[in-house]
Symmetry: C3
Subunit: 378 residues, 3 copies
């Protein structure tokens, strides 16, 4: 932890002048506030199997498919002839075929066949996007391919047989930053989720700090019953007091982890005393005001029963529905309000993580030569 | 009636030049044409009971709730922390609590508690709106509180036990002025409502005049059967000829009354010969092109039976559905038509009341320093 | 065919410079790209019978109705009084009556009665549109009436008792040019409709040429089974090889014909050996991104049975549903994509007809003094 950097609330607040009562660091939630030069999750691996998948990513129509050997590929989802969506066509060998007039394209986006004429149209070429499989997801690079400087996030545990991995998908009608901030201020668990998570000791926020370029938090809790969401997965009764170390990490704006390290001080004879539930929150901007949200919950327990998986999944969905419901009202309301982003935004101590998210975002956009995000009061 | 001021059609028409064939007095129906410095109806009293009510008023998200002693309160419906809608939270004593991170606010909009940190954020303050209970409605002042120069409209009869008051609510997808004008040109009853109101003698318009700053009309009708909508409430048979004096008053742009003063020249033995049905039309701008419309029908008869109330209510709704249907098509059509407001608008004699509505509106907007409303042909 | 003018792919491609990789001839599919001075189909004759029909045509609300003698009439669908849609009113003799306050208008758009006042408002006049009945459709002229220089297209066969005419209507959520181009590049039949039309020899395009100002194509096919869509109508078995001469004509941008001239070289004894199926594709711009599409299929066989008509109609609809589905995704996707029309558009040989459609369109717009259509890469 030599690179740990404390962010104090004072630091954050000091930037605020009496004249500037709006957003301290605007998050641009009504705009295209998506960095291009990074890996975003395009799909869960199971979504791209037999045929092409159409998906909006960063306000771009993308078609994702697999070659015969299983390698994933991604192209701009508009044929360069008359702009039909290739995703309505089919995959033939390693080529994707346009539904409208049968033009075929390879994974570089080059048209290799135009069956309705003899000459091949050698200028017919579609943007192709680098795509990688890592863990349970396909990752896409929508920016400059020359700028690729890293692999997608390390998520090997998602496919590790020693872990049981549950996951789900939402299309959330809210900007991706709102979800990102939501999962970096966990004090909302004690309020928004008080009847679902029932982890009501989480009223104070942890410290946020950087480990290299990974945003982190860590927080220890005294003996208290564990949230019923995770008791079944760990085989713990719902009323048994346990210790928890909550650790969060955000290796990139696209993904963050929320680890529940649980210690049972009085295990039943022959039972483990330590468990991990590794939550992951993956967000991908879709269209303006819409976000793909993939969530995962992994237990360091192999082969959980279908029953436990179904029960846990249902509980998680019940809780995350509360986030979706609230964030969507917020987005809709802020977008419909003529005052929009021009409204006081008070930053509290627990927002240190979220503010750091915005700072990272703003730096990335600046590095891409994008204009600064709007927000704040004049 | 010493202050009675006649508006002649000639006066109105004289303003029209050969070059200006569009709206004589634009009503700005595609814009924000809402005066701020006046009382608007926020809700029927029964809508705000146990929990907070979310409502768009004048394109502003508002939350309305009641203190422990029943006093109503209204705040801007965005927490100053991360902009969650307080209306999704709950009321605790006299405070409203944000659903997201538990911040509490008093009726002045001041944050009195931020449970996720120790220090209270003393800059956290939300706009608060004066709100009053009068008659069956809560009234809100969205403008400058210093400009409050009157009480909400006098509507005591709505809660008077000597009267029977029926009411209903519509969200109408049309600008509020269209409803206001609708209820000030009652000749439409003979056309639009010919199969519901069946008051087809109302083909000629009454005079409009001012009593102080109250716009009025008054019109006497010869013996004719009364509209079946109101026969049950007055205990009159549907085919019996009666006399009617129709009187309308608009104490403010937010509310107008339409009184049906009915005289039965040949009452059954022991029965009354005079009745009043006091209609009220309350409009409140919601979002662009959307209006809250509260209607009421009060009979000067105590304790009408449930059966009569249900029958009358069903009949009124059937008739008002005709208005809603037509006004919504008009709004949608005018908004979708590239010609928009730039189209000839011919003013007829019966529009004197409606034109005065527009003139009052335009003066109020001018007094608030707002730009003139758009409309008319070049 | 003395006026036949060949358009070579080379001619088309020669216009493209290395710097201009976008649309060669923009079709303006996201804009108002509708010529005014031509006949457009307003409705099928059966749509306007007892009462008025409301229809958006060229982004204008229009009401269409019939006089007592059956003559069709069309007016701008906004009363000049308070802008109510006349289409919600009723026809009374040769007048149309406004639903709101009973004003009556004649076919020239003049108000002939305002029943709520004594004086007739002689400035109250609505735009009227010339309308003609031809074949199975009513045709409307939305432009300058002085510019009428021709009759609506000749479609007498549609009502000729020696023909059997089937027809249908779609509102397609796509710009009209996309449909027009679709029916002028029939090679899509071999791809998009491979499981419905099953006319998979149509992989190469015919020549396009002009006959006067009529765009045409003609193409002969060797012996092959006829599309099952038309076998029943011609009384041919589905697997019998026949010869086909496919001929297309577009007398105006509003209508084109697709004639299937079928020759059975080995007819059953006593049976015909030659048949025609005359397809027609009628498009009328409605609102932005929405088009009325009327299709017709006529067989030169009198009085086809109800059974054959129902079977043929169901098959045609199944095929045209494929076009509607694809074109609507394309329109939605292109409109939602920030890149919009600024994307490479490669023109193939089979697009000669479609490109000529665009050129005709662009010339008409230019003649009307309209700005050039947008599109193409910088």
């Amino acid at each position: 932890m030599s690179t740990k950097t404390e962010i104090s609330t004072d630091d954050v607040l000091r930037e605020r002048s009496p004249r500037r009562l709006g957003q301290l660091v605007p998050n641009g939630m009504l705009e295209d506030n998506y960095p291009r030069n990074m890996w975003w999750a395009a799909a869960h691996v199971d979504e791209v199997k037999d045929g092409p998948l159409a998906r909006w990513i960063l306000e771009t129509p993308v078609v994702i498919y697999r070659l015969e050997n299983g390698t994933p590929a991604a192209l701009y989802d508009r044929c360069p002839h008359r702009w039909a969506p290739l995703s309505e066509g089919h995959v033939c060998g390693d080529k994707i075929v346009c539904p409208y007039h049968g033009m075929e394209f390879d994974t570089t986006g080059l048209c290799t066949k135009a069956p309705t004429q003899k000459m091949q149209p050698n200028i017919a070429r579609i943007p192709a996007y680098p795509v990688r499989e890592a863990g349970a997801f396909l990752w896409i690079w929508m920016g400059d391919p020359e700028a690729i400087d890293r692999e997608p996030p390390e998520v090997g545990y998602q496919t590790d047989p020693n872990w049981s991995f549950l996951h789900g998908y939402y299309e959330v009608a809210a900007n991706w930053v709102m979800i990102r901030e939501n999962v970096f201020d966990l004090t909302h668990i004690a309020f928004l989720h008080k009847n679902t998570f029932k982890q009501n000791d989480w009223i104070n926020a942890p410290d946020s700090f950087m480990e290299g370029d990974v945003l982190c938090y860590q927080q220890e809790f005294e003996l208290a019953p564990l949230s019923p969401l995770f008791c079944a997965g760990m085989g713990l009764p719902e009323d048994k007091p346990v210790k928890r170390v909550q650790k969060g990490t955000m290796p990139s704006l696209a993904i963050s982890f929320s680890d529940w390290n649980v210690h049972d001080p009085a295990p039943e004879p022959g039972r483990r005393s330590d468990f991990i539930m590794r939550g992951c929150h993956i967000v991908t901007p879709a269209q303006r005001g819409r976000t793909h949200y993939f969530w995962g919950s992994a237990f360091d327990v192999p082969a959980l029963s279908d029953e436990v998986i179904a029960k846990t999944k249902a509980s998680v969905i019940e809780a995350f529905d509360e986030d979706k419901h609230l964030l969507e009202i917020m987005q809709r309301q802020i977008a419909a309000d003529p005052r929009g982003l021009s409204y006081l935004e008070v930053t509290l101590g627990p927002d240190k993580g979220g503010i750091r998210v915005r700072q990272i975002l703003n730096k990335m956009l600046e590095a891409e030569g994008r204009p600064p995000l709007k927000g704040g009061l004049a």
